[in-house]
Structure formats: structure tokens, C-alpha cells
Amino acid sequence: MVSDGETIAKGEWYPPHSSGAVPARLLSRGGRLFAVNEEKLALSDGTVRQVSFTPRVGSIPRRAVFADGSVFESMDNDAIDAFLRSGGRSGWVHRLEEFHPRIFVFAIAVVLLAIGIYRYALPVLVKVAVFVTPPVVSEMMSYGALNTLDTTVLSSSSVAEVRQAEITDRFRQVAANAEGGAGRYTLNFRDGGMIGPNAFALPDGNIVITDQLLELARDDNEMIAAVLAHELGHVEYKHSLRQLYRAAGVAGLVMLIAGDIGSGVEDILTQGGGLLALSYSRGAEAEADRRSVELMRKAGMDPVAIARFFDVLEARLGDHSRTSMLSTHPGTPERKEAILEYNKTLQPD
């Protein structure tokens, strides 16, 4: 009989690994804990240290597990907390979680931290990742990408070989001053098909230009060289690799922080992460534009020839748009202005 103990809480008692519950009370007496039934017979006992209490989460039932595996379970979280606090044991995590004005401070802190990570920590992580990525990775990526494009949308070029040779010649001159020299870069002519007038750079130094873009340029080969110099800039700065890591980083952050966001939201956020990662390419485009100016200047061609390309784009596509959140490219008028500005700063006066 355990009669003169102090009742901590009422609840149920389970034998070890069994569902056979009986109504019980948890008592403390002289540094020992007892689970007793309604007849005040001890079902389990142990010193306070031998009994482990599950940490409090919200108001779910609390379990006190005795050394033999028997369990006292109670809904009376507050009573058990009061007992544990008097013994110097307390659940600080639960106290943080309680509904209290400070919860709003936490919410604000989380939002600020998330923005901070996105703005400051992520770029650093991306830099480190790009730095440690061996060249073979980008070679494999590029090889696969070009193969896929060739089998799906691209087909062989129908531009006259004379013109191809002329452009390749200009390309070599521009690339001579790029990182790694002209030998590191290869120019490919393709019929763009669905993707139309376009030029793009693969991270391994392969640059593709479509017939449609050459057509758009009429016979302004210098302007083509400026566009190619812009693409060289993308390769030098490893923009595609950066963008990839950035997208992966955003996805990782979403997964880590949100944890249980649920499958639907998870998918959308990953996609959204990719979309956000694209906004990075606005900075990348500006960087590549400036590189075009530098390379063209070094090759002895018109440094701002790429501005002519923007004029063509503007005339043809009617692109007077200012930069928007969703665009991968900054509005062309803005870009043109920035280039002319930049060229002025390079002018030896």
C-alpha cells in the first residue's frame, strides 16, 4: 500500500509492451515515484532519476516510462510540468512554443532570417560550390545538353560557308583575350528551328549561334562578334553552373526550413525556387554585357557593337519593356544605357 505519497497526476498505467491499461495515479514520496491503481497498490516504482518523462509537445498525453518498461500516461501536462520544475527539470523548448507575444517576434525573426539567408548566405554557398566543382562536371553537362538539343530542336546550319568562316574568324579574335584563350572555345552554327534567333553558351566553352540570329543581323558581322563576346562572358563567369546551384540551394533551403510543407507546396516551391533563381540571370546578363564591351575593345572592334544588337531586338520584337520580376533578361533599353555608360568608364581620356 502506498497511501501517504503526494499525488502528481491522474491517468492510466500500462504494463510493459502491453495494451492492458488500468486507471492509475502517479505519486511521489521520498525521492521515489510510484504508479498506483485505484486500490492504492503500487504497479511500478523507481527513483525520480530512473523514470523518464516524454518532453511536452502541445497538450498531447504525457508518458512517464519506468525502468521496467511500464508506462504511466496522463493528460495532465501542467501537473507533471509543475512536478518536474520543482525537481529542476523543465522543457524549455515547450515554453518557447507556447502561445505568447514572443511567438510573433519569432515569426518576424524567421522571415528576416530567411530573407537574409537568401540574400547573403546563398550567394556565398553558390560561390563555394562553383569553386569546388571540377571541370569534368560542366563538360558532361554540356555534352549532354548539346546532344539533346541537336536531336530535338536544332539541325545543321544552312548559312553559307564563307560567312561562317568570316564569323569564326572574328570569334577567334574576340576569344583570344578571353580566359583560357581561343583554343578553349568552340563556335557551332545550327539551324535554331523552334527556338528561333538565339545564341547560347554551354559551360564547357561550346557556343551555339542559330541561322535565324545571323539572318536577323543581316551582314553586320561585328555585331555578331559582340553577341558571341557576351556568350564568352557567360562561360567565363560560369553563369549556368551558378544558376543550377542557386536553384538547388533554394530547393534545399525550402526543404530544410519548411520541413513539413506537404507534397503539393513542396513541388510548387521547388519550381518557384527555379523561377526566383532565374532573376539572378539579370545580374548575369549585365555582367556578360560588360564583358562583351571589354573583349570587343581588346579585339580592336567597336566596343559597343552589342548595343546595335539591342536596337535590332527593340525594332523587331518591340521590346520597350522595363525589367520585370519574371523576365530572364533585363529590358533592352536599360541594358543599352548601361553598356554605353560602362564603355565611357573604360575610355582612356
Binding site: 502541445g58 528561333g196 513542396e266
Partner: protein, 360 residues
């Protein structure tokens, strides 16, 4: 603790489960989880998972008793650490030589059924109800057939054979599940499962017709423009726009059809479930209501930058619990836990990471 739903409290009445968690209470838990996860550089996420699961299990009330989640933060953390180290090694190896990535991919594919089996087993064994743990007796071979081949068949048939995949998967999961030493049994019939596929299939067909119609109208419009000699760049813009419309359209139609199908299959499987050969379960989700909750949850969560996520999670958990009922046949008697060790969390953590498919 009386929560009978049927008229009168006759024996052998179906009794609904309840969910007692609240959005405001869970908000505190969730925001502290996120905050501590950030300030510990992600380490706390393992403990956060435990608190989250304990909250949801511990608030799910069946016949007046709750469930309990027993995994420890340390277990989850070690599991995640091993998976993370493994992924890092795999990525380094494949960076060194492409052949390594082929080898590791094949190795993972071979190990996948085993990982699936161990993942389910871990999650079953860390779950208890009335102080008795669940267990899972499925084999890796079973996982290969039911999960692997099943999803392959469903995918290759564009969803037409999905009912077979649903049947195999649910039979594998539930017919190998034990509550203590008591077995579970489900037998979702293929015919009934095809009944669940009717509405989603009609939705996909209708969606395809509408999308195709839009494309046709757009194409017709483009030709008309061409005939009038309008600048062809407008065409480019419209084509890009059209491609995006089709992409999102397909995404939405398949997503919605998937939700409807999932709700129907859930009802069929759970309503065919017996515990210990006699206690019947029943699920009566409304397909429309389930889809509405799932979609509005996503929208609200996104619009509030995630801050309403706790509300959304509690809302769905409450609906799922309230639509599940059990009928006890005779005396349940005393049930005992039927195994010794829980095992490691590696497989379950690997699978939960793979659910989110990206390489570091």
C-alpha cells in the same frame, strides 16, 4: 471520451477518430522548429521532425486513446547524417568519373526495394497506440514488385493501369502491417479501384480536349494574323505564351485528377481494412472536399509566405481523422508489442529525402 457517431451507442457501431490539435498551438511548435532549424544550420531539423510528428500522432484520437511517435531526434539525425554523407560521396565519385555515377545509380536501384521496406518498417515500429508498437513484416522482394513494378506499370500505361499499382502497393503496405501481434488485412478490388479512376480519367480527357481546343484556336488565330501580314514576332510571343499555358494546364489537370483519385483510393482501401480479422475500418472522404482542402491549403500557404502552413496542416489532419472510423467486434483483449529493436532511421530518411528529388 464518448465520440460515437451513429444513432444510439449500440455495440458494434462505427466510431470516428478525432483530431484535437489546433492551428494556434501548432503554430508555436512550427515556428520554433523553423527558427531553431535555421540558427543551428539545419541540425535541429531532426528534433523538429520528432516534435512535429509527436504533435500530430498525439492529437489523433481513436476510441479515446492517442497515437505516439517514438523516434528520437538523435536517431533521425544520425540517419540524415549517413544519407547526407552518402550523397556527398556519390556526387564526388560521379564528378571524378562518369562511370561511377552509372555504378552508384545501379547500386541505388538495386538497394531501393530494401530501402523502401526498411523505411516503412522504421516508421511502423516507432508508432504506438495504447502502448503497443506497430510492426511491418514486408520483404524487399515484395517492395520490388508492389512499389517498383507497380509505379512502372502505372507510368508506362499513362495511368490506365494505375488501379493495379494501387492494389499492389496497398496490399504490400497493409497486409504486412501488424499492431502488436494483430495483423491488418486489406483487399481493394481492381474493379472498385477502376470505379475510382472514372472521374479522374474523364477530367484528364476533358482537360486535354479543352487544351487542344485552345491550341487550335490560337493556331487558327495565328494563321489569320499571318494572312493579314502582321509582324511575325507577335507570333513568337504567342507561341511562348501558348507553350506555358499548355504546360500549366497539364500540370493543373493532372494534379486535380490525382487528388480525386487519391481520395477515392483512400476510401476504398481503408473501407476494406480489417484489424485482427474482425475489427472493420471505414473511410468516407468526400472527393470534392478533399481536393478543395488540398488545393486551398497550397494557395493559402503560398500567399502567406508559409506562415499559414500550420493552419493548413491541422486542417487536413482534422479532416482525415474525422473521416476515418472503426468498429470494434467483440473484445479487443490485451495486445503485446511483438519485436525487440526499432532499427536505424537511415532507410526512412533516405526515402523521405528522395521524395524530394534533387542532388546536392
Amino acid at each position: 471520451m464518448d465520440n460515437k457517431v451513429s444513432a444510439g451507442s449500440a455495440a458494434n457501431a462505427f466510431e470516428r477518430a478525432r483530431f484535437t490539435g489546433t492551428a494556434s498551438e501548432y503554430f508555436g511548435i512550427w515556428i520554433v522548429n523553423v527558427l531553431l532549424t535555421i540558427v543551428t544550420f539545419g541540425i535541429y531539423s531532426a528534433w523538429a521532425k520528432v516534435r512535429r510528428n509527436r504533435y500530430f500522432y498525439g492529437n489523433t484520437v481513436l476510441l479515446g486513446r492517442t497515437f505516439e511517435y517514438h523516434a528520437t531526434g538523435k536517431q533521425i539525425f544520425i540517419g540524415r547524417l549517413i544519407v547526407f554523407a552518402f550523397l556527398v560521396v556519390v556526387n564526388i565519385l560521379s564528378a571524378i568519373h562518369p562511370l561511377f555515377s552509372l555504378v552508384t545509380t545501379i547500386l541505388i536501384l538495386i538497394a531501393l526495394p530494401w530501402l523502401i521496406m526498411r523505411g516503412i518498417r522504421f516508421n511502423a515500429r516507432v508508432t504506438s497506440y495504447r502502448n503497443v508498437r506497430f510492426d511491418f513484416r514486408g520483404t524487399a522482394g515484395g517492395a520490388f514488385v508492389s512499389v517498383f513494378l507497380g509505379s512502372l506499370v502505372a507510368f508506362l500505361s499513362l495511368g490506365l493501369l494505375a488501379p493495379f499499382a494501387s492494389r499492389w502497393l496497398n496490399r504490400y503496405v497493409f497486409n504486412n502491417l501488424r499492431y502488436g501481434n494483430r495483423p491488418f488485412h486489406v483487399d481493394p478490388k481492381v474493379g472498385t479501384l477502376y470505379g475510382a479512376l472514372v472521374i479522374p480519367a474523364l477530367m484528364v480527357v476533358l482537360g486535354a480536349v479543352v487544351l487542344f481546343g485552345l491550341v487550335a484556336i490560337a493556331a487558327g488565330g495565328l494563321q489569320a494574323y499571318d494572312a493579314m501580314g502582321v509582324r511575325s514576332d507577335l507570333r513568337d510571343v504567342m507561341m511562348v505564351f501558348g507553350v506555358y499555358t499548355i504546360f500549366f494546364g497539364v500540370f493543373i489537370v493532372y494534379g486535380l485528377a490525382g487528388l480525386i483519385y487519391r481520395a477515392a483510393v483512400h476510401n476504398i482501401v481503408w473501407s476494406s481494412m480489417r484489424v485482427d480479422g474482425r475489427h472493420l475500418l471505414r473511410s468516407d472522404l468526400s472527393r470534392a472536399r478533399y481536393a478543395w482542402i488540398a488545393i486551398s491549403n497550397v494557395v493559402v500557404t503560398l500567399l502567406t509566405l508559409g506562415l499559414m502552413r500550420p493552419w493548413a496542416a491541422v486542417r487536413l489532419a482534422r479532416y482525415m481523422a474525422e473521416r476515418t472510423a472503426i468498429r470494434i467486434e467483440g473484445e479487443v483483449g490485451e495486445v503485446f508489442t511483438d519485436f525487440q529493436v526499432t532499427g536505424a532511421a537511415v532507410a526512412s530518411e533516405y526515402m523521405s529525402m528522395e521524395g524530394f528529388d534533387f542532388g546536392f
